[in-house]
Amino acid sequence: MYADWMGERMDSFDKITASRRGFLGLATGGAALALGAGQGAQASVVRTNARILILGAGAGGAAIANRLVERLDGASITVLDGRPQHWYQPGFTLIASGLRKADYAVSTTEQWLPNGVTYINEYAAELDPDANRVITTGGQRIDYDYLIVATGLVLDWDAIEGFDLSMVGPENGISAHYASPEMAELSWHAMDKFTSEGGVGMFGRPATEMKCAGAPVKLCFLAEDIATTKGNRSNCEFIYNAQAQNLFGVPVIHHRVRQIMDERDITYRYQHVLKGIDLGAKTATYTTPDGEVTDRWDFINVIPPQRAPQVIRDSGLSWADRWTDQGWIEVDMQTLRHARYPNVFGIGDIDGVPKGKTAASVKFHIPVVEDHLVSEIAGREGTRIYDGYTSCPLITRIGRAMLVEFDYQDNLTPSFPGVIAPLEELWISWLMKEVALKATYNAMLRGRA
């Protein structure tokens, strides 16, 4: 399946490896930093009067806007995003485990956008890729020559029966740390109470594609660690419900996570998908291959199914025969260019590719989309490809993490082979997560990393 592009892949492998080091290499403060990368910083500027519309000003939208302003002279770039707040989502885990306050993850959308772009604080209400046109929620019509879809995804909370975000907090023992920085902080208070008082803690993940598939596992490990530190481990039970026949999609990582769960006496169950909760009875119902099972809990972390925003699903950009209940857009998995609309590109969570709904993947989507779009405008063919790289500092306890990195083929792709072991619980990997990641993320948003 990959043979036809292997040659091309090897061509750009050096570049991609160098960029990866740029993203991760900054925690050590050592000589390895010299391998950092700033893609395109020295690339040529192209003169154009193209109209470029970027849907979404999150990690992907803000970063590509900054890159395109550097690379294109005279382009008319419009960014559309209805949310005035920017959320540093990799920080949600730290907030939900009491290490940071909600404001750690909050900034303004506007502060990341460069001068020279038009920012419209509205969402897209209608998208017509045949007519190259978007209508905003405020009724504005925007015509474009090129469209970059970076909307992110929506969390389908309504899909969890009996659940409502107003239930989150210590009173009910409900956590929903994906929802927002404030919800992540409320989730911490729920976890704090549970780990102090004891009981049954339920963890798990949805059956859809999801952003940061490591986060549900991390939260479970963190809760177990916090209970242990409090000296209350013996009064707490931890149950991790995996949606598939594994704990992580990459087999080698699955086995390592299973081993750690065994060592720490965390119960895991396969093919258990949360269907609904009953707040009064404090029970959760899971669908399994053998029918539904209902279990009691004292603490539960709810992570709902995740889908493309409705406006994208209605636009015709989604895959027609894959992920039909989720609506990810049909982009080429190497170029991130839409399969049917060549003037449309995708960045981040919205892309219908097998892996990569993380900020680390966004970091690798950016230079690929930048290259293909700028090359097209300059009348050339783009050459860079995305190999499915994604990264997850898989926190195993406060102070330690495993820096797992992998690609489309489930290969481990360590940035520091022989130096930082991907499946080893290390302090340096924790330092990367806690100290270096947000700084690198911010630099990426500004188009500088």
Partner: protein
């Protein structure tokens, strides 16, 4: 290395500490280094007495550096997991020790002057 960019590293450190604090730290380090060079040139020799005190103060500087890293992060010695962690810890200690030794040497040289070593 088509992709090499020192600017990326600078950008990340600016984000980590804030632009003002980062460049202030760079400035302080540069001033201490220049002062060290200045006293070496001024005195035309290393003073072994000052150097001895500087060396004796190295463990303090190293310990302070390690303490600072632990203070700034939610981690401690129990989290040291593998060889690379020990290397990083030793690196932090060594950087603190050398930096502090230079500082102690410079302060002695400036406060006590060239004559005091006679």
């Amino acid at each position: 290395m088509e992709e090499f960019s020192f600017m990326t590293i600078i950008a990340v450190f600016e984000e980590m500490f804030g632009r003002g604090v980062f460049w202030a730290m760079v400035l302080v380090a540069a001033v201490i280094t220049l002062a060290y060079l200045y006293v070496l040139v001024r005195d035309r020799a290393m003073s072994m007495r000052k150097f001895l005190l500087a060396q004796l103060s190295m463990p303090i500087g190293g310990a302070l550096a390690v303490w600072f890293v632990m203070l700034m992060t939610n981690s401690g010695f129990r989290d040291i997991g593998g060889p690379i962690d020990w290397l990083v810890l030793l690196g932090v200690f060594a950087a603190g020790a050398i930096g502090f030794a230079i500082l102690v040497y410079v302060v002695q040289s400036i406060v006590r002057g060239k004559a005091s070593d006679a």
